[in-house]
Amino acid sequence: MKHQLDFEKPIIELQNKLDELRKHPETHSLGVSFDEEIKQIEKKLEETRRQIFSNLTAWQRVQLARHPKRPYTLDYLARTFTEFHELHGDRLFAEDRAVVGGFARLGDHKVMVIGTQKGRDTKENILRNFGSAHPEGYRKALRLMRLADKFGLPIIALIDTAGAYPGIGAEERHIAEAIAVNLREMTLLETPIIAAVIGEGGSGGALGIGVADRVLILENAYYSVISPEGCAAILWKERSAAAKAAEALRITAKDLFELKLVDEIIPEPLGGAHTDPKQAAEILRQHLLTNLEQLRALPVAERLKLRYEKYRACGPFLEKPLTASEKAAAPRKSSKRAAAPAATMA
């Protein structure tokens, strides 16, 4: 089983060497100071890690977001939260295990957590449908969110899905409608909502539980309108152009923050969340708590107004086409910074 990415190799090799030294000092000739060697390798490891991880490409981040060892929703539920009481079913058709939800405790706050859940191995993935929800998952999510709203519990949505499931049953039971209704209803829920993209933010399937007062994203997670492979297949006619597509779509946490499409980047331990899930969970906890306390301090009407305006302001456009002279004056390629969203309230 290969649980490493190509660009992780130098790090893993050093790590293995270090482990070896620590485990079997007797295999080394006398007279050599192990401590010194260990120290040197530790230093090299740290440097290598920093070097690799400060220059990740968009595609490398996508790979990290999909890393088979990356912490999933239930891992965060076990570490970031202190209690979790799972609640099941959409009361309409079925229990969709690609979405988990239930009561949880975050610090001193009792909250409702909803999250998409991937499987760690084949058996789990069959149960979780690889983290791709059917309509029932979205309807269960809405049922639980309404329950939370009724009793004043804040909602925390953890997003990690390649997308909603493209299947026959999903179409027959109107997955598009299930997502759309969530988008509309989440707009009006009076309780605070925080969404955090912890791995893959796959298009409508992610947004379907992702309308929130604050949208946070882990440093190596991505959020995209289409998978890089899907985009590559359409535009470059080959899925292997996925790396190019990942770059063009601007789907990394940093890109999305610059474009004002997310509110906050949650840092990960150096080397990615999977290298230190405990620390990753703790960082997430702090960010969720800070945001939750800020949101709770706002009056309901104000929170709803801000939530509406946040989405209202999304998307740049021109009121009318540029004139020829304006075009000539404009830079050839849009600058890295986004055009300020034209947030004109009609």
């Binding site: 997308g163 909603a164 493209p166 299947g167 026959i168 999903a170 179409e171 027959e172 039971r173 109107h174 997955i175 598009a176 409608e177 997502i179 759309a180 209704v181 988008l183 509309r184 209803e185 707009t187 298009s203 409508g204 399937g205 947004l207 379907g208 309308v211 959020y223 309108v225 289409i226 899907g230 985009c231 297949a233 359409i234 535009l235 470059w236 597509a245 063009a248 779509l249 601007r250 789907i251 999305l256 474009l259 499409l261 509406y308 989405y311 209202r312 999304c314 998307g315 740049p316 456009f317 021109l318 009318k320 086409p321 540029l322 849009s334 600058s335 986004a338 055009a339 309230m345 009609a346």
Partner: protein, 337 residues
């Protein structure tokens, strides 16, 4: 496949008092979208369809002795249809009721009372905020489609009168980048919905789309949330919203405003769904059931209130508007103003 089989015959120019209108060249091929991901636009075609727009013949349907236009072959029943008659029948085959694609302008013309359509944001234009370069740049795509369609983007919005009802109307156009939803489509529809909420107007949106527009990345996805949020407040004000699904409506548009209507209507035979059929086939390795993702299929499975042929739509809308405005909320809100 549905271009004229015969070369344009030289018209033996009969003495006619009216200046002949240019014949409609109906070279538009109905292209079912095949979004390989949910919420995403289908591959834009390299040569955008040309769609010569013809103003509706004012009044007199004249008897014709000589064919003066082009013929179009119905892709469903293969009948040769005279273009002018096809136009008069709102691009519906008189033999088999096949619904040809129809542009947003013609659609509006077929629904609203004469001269009552006040267009909103007619000049609004997309920008390439991501600096998107694939095989071609987004800007060059936009310019090509603007030239070929005469449209600025994939939706036309405005306030109009239908029968005696004032209404907010948004009509998408598949001819512009596959009807894909980027920031302009999202913004124009959101302004329309907000205007309807503010003025207490019923809202009608006629959709046809391959989904969210890939070239604007996450900005496009957020239009789903933006339009749905505006609809939340329109619904909260207890104002009616009718969503009309036409061929094809898929992906991100389906997963937002298209499925949020108080009434969801569809045109016969329209392809309607979330994921593309090929993606579903590849993912599930299963045979798709007959009629999968058609309007009829979805009516049987409970999504669609009614299937309404195009040439009955206006009347049907007036009837439905009569019902939904008969109750308590509408006396003040829906007054003609």
């Amino acid at each position: 496949m549905n271009v004229s089989p015969q070369p344009n015959p030289p018209v033996p120019s009969p003495p006619t008092p009216l200046p002949l209108l240019p014949p409609v060249s109906f070279a538009k091929k109905p292209v079912p979208p095949d979004p390989s991901e949910p919420a995403v636009t289908p591959p834009p075609k390299d040569n955008p369809t040309t769609f010569v727009k013809k103003p509706k013949m004012a009044g007199k349907p004249r008897k014709r002795e000589i064919p003066e236009g082009l013929w179009t072959k119905c892709p469903k029943c293969s009948t040769m249809l005279f273009d002018k008659e096809l136009d008069e029948n709102l691009k519906v085959c008189s033999q088999c009721q096949y619904h040809f694609p129809i542009g947003s302008r013609e659609r509006i013309h077929s629904l609203v009372e004469t001269c009552t359509f006040e267009e909103m944001d007619a000049q609004m234009t997309s920008v390439d905020a991501l600096g998107f370069t694939g095989v071609a740049t987004y800007t060059s795509k936009l310019e090509a489609y603007q030239r070929s369609t005469g449209l600025k983007d994939a939706v036309v919005t405005g306030i109009c009168r239908i029968g005696e009802h004032r209404a907010a109307l948004g009509v998408m156009d598949f001819g512009f980048l596959g009807g894909s939803m980027g920031s302009v489509v999202g913004e124009k529809l959101t302004r329309l919905i907000e205007r309807a909420t503010e003025k207490g107007l019923p809202l009608i949106i006629i959709s046809t789309s391959g989904g969210a527009r890939m070239y604007e990345g996450m900005f496009s996805l957020m239009q789903m949330a933006k339009t749905s949020a505006a609809l939340a407040y329109h619904a909260k004000a207890r104002l009616p919203y009718f969503s009309i699904l036409t061929h094809p409506t898929t992906a991100g548009v389906m997963a937002s405003y298209a499925t949020l209507g108080d009434l969801i209507l569809a045109e016969p035979g329209a392809m309607i769904g979330f994921a593309g059929p090929r993606v579903i086939k590849d993912t599930t390795q299963a045979e798709l059931p007959p009629g999968f993702q058609t309007a009829e299929f979805l009516l049987e499975r409970g999504l669609i209130d009614a299937i309404v042929p195009r040439n009955e739509l206006k009347e049907r809308l007036i009837t439905y508007l009569g019902y939904v405005t008969a109750g308590r909320n509408c006396s003040s809100g829906l007054a003609k103003s």
